[in-house]
């Protein structure tokens, strides 16, 4: 997985509340069997008209925001389905940091599996950051010190230590868990005694 340490660049403001995963990547793009290539379809229905032409005034179609690596969005970003296609499409577009006042649980978790940093800020800071983003100010995201730096302001954010470590190191969850193989096997053998109907196949 890609590491995330620091990130510098302009941020695209998208101050809509409850941006759901159907908006981020509509259903017709879920038919893929690959993780890549979804960036072009990100926010498809807001970004393209019925004929498939770019809608000129949609923020990610305008310069310089079409190069944004950061998105500042309204409350409850990523609600709805569990589709990991949502973070895949954001990442493929080039966005690896999303700032909001809140995120839906599954989406939040999916971000970390793909080297994307979701940052929760207060409503006041969100408003401020949306304005800075609109004014094309440069954002600097510093994960080690847990700060957003913009226009001389320093806005701190919280992140669980294990998530921070995995992003900074670019660690793969499965590899870490496989080190606990013995614990998993022991667990199954103990449970088989109490719940034989669930562990019929465990020898």
């Amino acid at each position: 997985m890609d590491k995330f340490i620091t990130l510098k660049g302009i941020a695209a403001p998208l101050p809509i509340v409850n941006i759901d995963t159907d908006m981020i990547i509509p259903k017709q793009f879920l038919k893929t069997i690959k993780r890549t290539g979804l960036g072009i379809s990100l926010f498809y229905e807001m970004r393209y008209d019925l004929q498939g032409h770019e809608i000129k005034d949609f923020i990610l179609n305008t310069k310089p925001f079409n190069q944004s690596k950061i998105l500042v969005a309204g409350d409850n970003f990523g609600c709805g389905s569990s589709r990991e296609h949502a973070p895949w499409s954001l990442k493929d577009f080039g966005i690896s940091c999303i700032i909001s006042t809140s995120f839906a649980d599954i989406f939040y978790n999916n971000c970390f599996q793909n080297g994307i940093l979701p940052i929760v800020v207060s409503p006041e800071n969100s408003k401020k950051l949306i304005d800075f983003a609109g004014d094309q100010k440069e954002f600097e995201i510093d994960l080690p010190s847990q700060n957003i730096l913009v226009e001389g302001e320093k806005i701190g954010f919280d992140i669980e230590p294990y998530r921070k470590e995995r992003l900074i190191e670019g660690l793969d969850d499965i590899g870490i868990t496989m080190n606990y193989e013995q614990s998993i096997t022991d667990y199954e053998l103990i449970q088989k005694k109490d719940k034989p109907w669930i562990f019929k196949d465990i020898e």
Partner: protein, 469 residues
């Protein structure tokens, strides 16, 4: 099960599945059952292949194709990408020795319908699926939640997930449900009350006297939409209704295992005095038949109400959100909800595609015709639901009323298959999401109960079941 301080149902399942509490604050949680479908799994199997990792315990996983499958002429899936995705699931499950219900198998259907139907879903289990409506299975007192594809791969490889414990929230609903009010209205009412982020970070346990007499089907409808309230999982303590539902189902425990399981299940309900981080108490008399008017499940109100004014919003963001929703939905503030004219009716989905739902619809439309401008579609949740309905003669009633009678799948709930709304088409839907574009680009969705959708199909307008004769 360990004793000590009073525990919630969630606490009990959690501690019973804890493989390892790790130093970094995360927990490794064992997964008893993993359900897999065609849309969120191909990349997970590909990941295993790239890393040369086997599926750790193939017998703990069951697979079915549901999201992408046509609901008619399904022998040959026309859409190439859909066909490839379904075929990929068949190939992957074969390669790894995972049980797969083929499209031609009568047991095929929506993954959250067939789990309970087959007795795969059982109290006290941990269950996951790459689908947010996995919360449905919580109706059995199983801790069940949706995961992303990377986590699907993680479960296939290790039979565990990495988790932090959720917080406990209890929503108690007391009193008999008023006439015309169903479990769908109850959950829509709750979502309207706490909002789509109201349950974030929590598992919602539903309790109270209103729930006690409810069938498993009705309970599943409630837990199903927990995710629309922001909670990854919903839970209802198992009771005699749960046990009676499970007994004799193909994957339910048998013989000496049954009595052992029954003892275990009976000890699961939350202890009195267990601690909840959040509590909400609702009196059932507050609840009316509910309909969504906007583009988020929290945009919901009584069917007897009026389309809201954005000036009623408490915050500037909410005001903008109402204006955006109304524009998308093509609605004017102050319009009576029952004056909204419909084009389509969709009956189905993991929320309301079970036999009880089809019985309700049939009882309302019996000897009646759906309005001439309405296209009505009924998609049973599984092949077995369809068979049962046909054995009861429901299909005859529904077809005579003018409904299309389809094959099982997710269908127009998300419109990944050919069943979609056209731009500006307005649909009464028994599904779970009214997001912009969800049922087809530009399509306008009003979520409601099967009862309301059936009455609305006859009238051609959104209809209050209490005024329907």
């Amino acid at each position: 099960m360990s004793t000590g301080s009073p525990k919630t149902l969630f606490d009990k399942i959690w501690s019973d599945h804890l493989v390892k509490q790790r130093d970094d604050g995360t927990s490794l949680l064992y997964i008893d059952k993993h359900l897999v479908h065609e849309v969120t799994s191909p990349q997970a199997f590909e990941g295993l292949k790239i890393a040369n990792r086997p599926v750790r315990r193939p017998s703990a996983t069951i697979a079915v194709a549901d999201h992408n499958v046509p609901t008619f002429n399904r022998e040959n899936i026309e859409d190439e990408q859909s066909r490839i995705q379904v075929q990929t699931l068949a190939n992957n499950t074969k390669e790894h020795g995972i049980e797969y219900f083929e499209l031609t198998d009568q047991r095929q259907g929506i993954v959250h319908i067939i789990g309970p139907e087959q007795g795969i879903t059982q109290p006290g289990m941990t269950m996951v699926c790459g689908d947010s409506h996995t919360s449905t299975h919580g109706a059995f007192g199983a801790l069940a939640f949706g995961i992303g594809t990377s986590e699907v791969e993680h479960v296939l490889a290790t039979q565990t997930v990495v988790q932090k414990p959720a917080k406990n929230m209890r929503i108690s609903v007391n009193g008999a449900l008023p006439l015309g009010v169903t479990s769908k209205d109850l959950i829509l009412y709750i979502i309207g009350k706490i909002g789509t982020a109201g349950g974030n970070g929590h598992v919602i346990e539903y309790a109270g006297s209103s729930l006690k007499p409810l069938s498993m089907e009705s309970r599943m409808t409630i837990c199903n939409m927990s995710i629309e309230a922001g909670a990854r999982a919903g839970l209802i303590s198992p009771d005699q209704i749960t046990f009676d539902y499970l007994k004799g189902r193909p994957y339910a425990p048998k013989e000496e295992h049954w009595s052992k399981a029954l003892d275990y299940w009976s000890a699961l309900p939350s202890d009195t005095d267990a601690y909840y981080d959040k509590e909400l108490v609702i009196n059932s008399s507050e609840i009316d038949p509910m309909v969504t008017w906007g583009t988020s499940p929290e945009d919901v109100m009584a069917v007897s109400g009026l389309v809201p004014y954005s000036s009623s919003a408490k915050t500037e963001n909410k005001k903008k959100s109402i204006e955006r929703s109304l524009e998308y939905m093509g609605l004017k503030s102050g319009t009576k909800i029952t004056d909204i004219k419909l084009d389509k009716i969709f009956i189905g989905s993991c929320t309301n595609g079970r036999i009880e739902d089809l019985r309700s619809v049939a009882s309302i439309v019996k000897n009646k015709k759906i309005a001439s401008h309405i296209e009505g579609m009924i998609v049973p949740g599984s092949g077995l639901v369809k068979k049962q309905a046909e054995e009861e003669g429901l299909d005859v009633i529904l077809k005579a009323a003018g409904f299309d009678w389809r094959e099982a799948g997710c269908s127009m709930c998300l419109g990944m298959n050919p069943d979609q709304l056209k731009p500006e088409e307005r649909c009464a839907s028994t599904s779970n999401r009214n997001f912009e574009g969800r049922q087809g680009r530009g399509g306008r969705t009003h979520l409601m109960s099967p009862e309301l959708a059936a009455a609305s199909a006859i009238k051609g307008y959104i209809t209050d079941i209490r005024d329907f004769v």
